[in-house]
Subunit: 215 residues, 2 copies
């Protein structure tokens, strides 16, 4: 049975996973890149960018779990594209010709189109389904490998609220965005279903891990 | 010049400093005591309760900074009493005859009454003033010692928003309350004015410290 993961999902101290004012030029709105700066300093990221330096500590240990054993990603329409992408027949996501997923990706959207096959093993499939139904379809496609819930904040929240996530790794960054899309809304008492660990990094972020009790 | 402190102020992962439904029997609403359980395990707290055991680690190191060098506390009406306390002429706060403050306490309220002198050095003064004006009055009364902003969440938020806090210690507990009074609202970009450290404790909480740049 495929396990379901949230990985490296970054939020601000005040709980926003995306800022306000997302657009083609600003995928995270007024947050810019600030939610993810901790990641850019890791050896894992630096290597993917063709560099040989970077930190090898706790941030790197977490971030490099991104790929291993994942058979498919489910993402929201707002992660796949800017508001209005569905009116652009040439839009193929933010990640260029060879996206970093290297697996099938289910894009949850009301605007269906044909699958898009990219280089490196990534194929975007567009589906209009509830979290539970999307997960059923993903389990069939994952061949027993893990399923990543890729975000954005609303999609992660919906899957958590529906009790569909086995392991979640949330990264709290020391900034206050003040506005945007909140991760935690409507998740009262979530701690009763998970073992939670918190560990702070010298980089200033705190890694929260949620492991489902009995999973 | 007196420094201004927020100490041991506990919030949930989703940022609530108080739950919903506060009353005389439930000072923190549906949160109950859960925001403060980390504190009850410390040697400092246990000793104050007449016990000799308790943890002597990071939680204890933080919590016992509560008293040293503090000359006065400013608190909100919602910390002093339950909704409607001002209609009860005999209400003297939640803390019994010998409250844990041992200094003057300014209670911010529109419902003024005469000062109440308690045992152990605590005297409650009731003042109707803005954060900035209350702080001016507190500086005069503090004799150069520190000023504690005692809460609740709205009062801490108001003093932070007005740029009046030198050091803040916020404790993030691994629970999701879902509803109540949010600490972080309206504090966008607060990190630009503070050095922020995060350190997690084996107890599961994360201690955030904000130190004002240049202070």
């Amino acid at each position: 049975m495929s396990r379901v993961y949230v990985q490296n999902f970054s939020i601000s101290l005040d709980g926003f996973g995306t800022g306000e004012g997302t657009s083609r030029d600003t995928p995270f709105g007024h947050a810019g890149e600030r939610l993810h700066e901790w990641m850019f300093e890791t050896r894992w990221w630096r290597k993917a960018s063709g560099q040989s330096d970077g930190s090898g500590g706790i941030d790197d240990a977490f971030v490099r779990q991104h790929d291993a054993g994942i058979g498919i990603e489910i993402m929201g329409a707002g992660k796949f594209g800017y508001p209005g992408w569905h009116e652009d027949p040439d839009w193929k996501g933010w990640w260029g010709a060879n996206p970093p997923f290297h697996t099938p990706v289910f894009v949850l959207t009301h605007h269906l189109r044909s699958p898009i096959e990219m280089e490196g093993g990534t194929t975007y499939h567009f589906i209009d389904a509830s979290p539970a139904r999307a997960l059923e379809m993903a389990r069939e496609a994952a061949n027993g490998q893990g399923i990543r819930i890729g975000g954005g904040a609303i999609v992660v929240r919906d899957f958590l609220a529906a009790g569909l996530v086995d392991h979640a790794h949330i990264v709290v960054t020391p900034i206050l965005l003040g506005r945007g899309v909140r991760l935690w809304d409507g998740l009262e008492s979530l701690e009763q279903r998970y073992e939670i660990e918190a560990v702070s990094s010298p980089s200033g972020v705190t890694h929260l891990t949620f492991s489902r009790r009995g999973a």
